[in-house]
Symmetry: C2
Subunit: 259 residues, 2 copies
């Protein structure tokens, strides 16, 4: 039987709020099973760009990453945020090891092909090095990924953290009984975007399409859900979209995905 593994992805809105981040990291550190953390970027990269006189460019909530923006996201995601999270986890005895996709060639991607929009130095994932990540887990280390990957030719690439979470979860499900929790500022997927209490307890692929057509699920939630269903279809046993209380109990509150 495969050993259990929990993969927690925390979004930028959690990273921005210090007491909430601390609480989520504490819950994560307490998990007895093997675990992986994946974190987004938060507002800090855009703030840093503005401080340097560079105006961030976003299209449909996705960052256009030119060479200057890539330098800044690499500094902020892989440096400032990742190392501060690792230091916080180490302080509460979680043996974290901070990683980008370049480290151990853990996540290899290619620069996104230009179609209508040139997103610049943005990576679409090709392959996850499940063997190397498993070696770290077997040593009881806790891999802690930022959203930077590489092309194995020396180029770093800015990569969507939800996509990393989904793809890493799918790859690790070969070796572990894998649970993926996508944690963000709401308590789950909402049936009424204006009502935070309208959490949909479970959702299957068909219902997702219906909600999408009705405009209930829109914008940034669509790629998040696409990733979540990709993980479900590729061996991940349980996938949840949940809020900051997600790991407080063994039964996860939030939206559970079904096939």
């Amino acid at each position: 039987m495969k050993a259990p593994l929990t993969i927690l992805k925390i979004g930028g809105n959690i990273i921005n709020k210090e007491p909430i981040l601390t609480k989520v990291l504490e819950d994560f550190a307490k998990l007895p099973e093997k675990k992986i953390l994946i974190h987004g970027g938060g507002r800090k990269a855009s703030e840093m760009m503005r401080s340097l006189g560079i105006e961030p460019t976003m299209i449909d909530g996705r960052r256009v990453t030119d060479a200057a923006a890539l330098e800044i996201v690499t500094m902020i995601y892989a440096g400032l945020i990742n190392k501060n999270i690792v230091a916080q986890l180490q302080a509460i005895n979680c043996n974290a090891i901070g990683l980008s996709g370049a480290d151990l060639n853990a996540i290899q991607s290619h620069k996104r092909i230009i179609q209508e929009i040139d997103y610049g130095f943005v990576g679409d994932i090709d392959i996850v090095n499940g063997v190397a990540i498993s070696q770290l887990l077997q040593a009881d280390f806790t891999p802690t990924f930022c959203a930077i990957t590489h092309d194995k030719k020396g180029q770093l690439l800015n990569t969507n953290a939800d996509s990393i979470a989904a793809t890493v979860a799918a790859a690790m499900s070969q070796y572990f009984q894998t649970k993926l929790v996508l944690c963000f500022e709401k308590d789950g997927v909402l049936s009424d975007p204006k009502d935070d209490s309208s959490v949909i307890p479970s959702i299957n692929a068909e219902q997702f399409q219906t909600y999408k057509k009705a405009g209930v699920i829109s914008a940034g939630m669509i790629p998040k859900m696409d990733g979540a269903f990709f993980a479900m279809k590729n061996g991940v046993e349980n996938v949840y979209i949940a809020g900051i209380h997600a790991l407080e109990n063994t039964t996860i509150k939030g939206t559970k995905l079904c096939l």
Copy 2:
């Protein structure tokens, strides 16, 4: 018999020069034995501070690190420089894993005690986690350290890269037959600071004191030499201070330390 291990430290003046950095990384990647890279910071942190309107403060060549400076060195050292070096090494099939001292609690330090000067968030090393670093080496990974450590209470600390190199080498010599190469812009320790060809081929502790008193060895070379002798006295088999051609041949040209 212990397996051989080479630890290469590269200084800021090498990191600043792209073609030289590439060449040194290529020589490093070709080493058949187990290896560790430790890199300094370069000018980029000071440049970034000035871009943000912060004037860097240096005392005797050492950076005073207030909270704003710590954020910037963490971004530049652990993010920008470390991940770009890792991506470059991966591109030439060296299985690098970028680390700060916080990752795996690899290097634990304490905030420097204030005596005459308050250096701010600067770390003096307490302990190196040789067991964790050995686990990475045994898996054929190449640990690649930046000069950031932590206090295991959640605080990152800016730490001298030569000190990290010396302390990590001493710790690893318990497990490996360890060679330490401190690589910088000159071809070794010079007997005449104005003559780059006046490399001292070997130097012992007594000669070091004589050169120091005569003012031949001064400024930033003194802590570098202190670290190098610390490594020699603590089990490291061979210590060299050498230039960018250091790893071209199995016989290292430069200054060899003797006890």
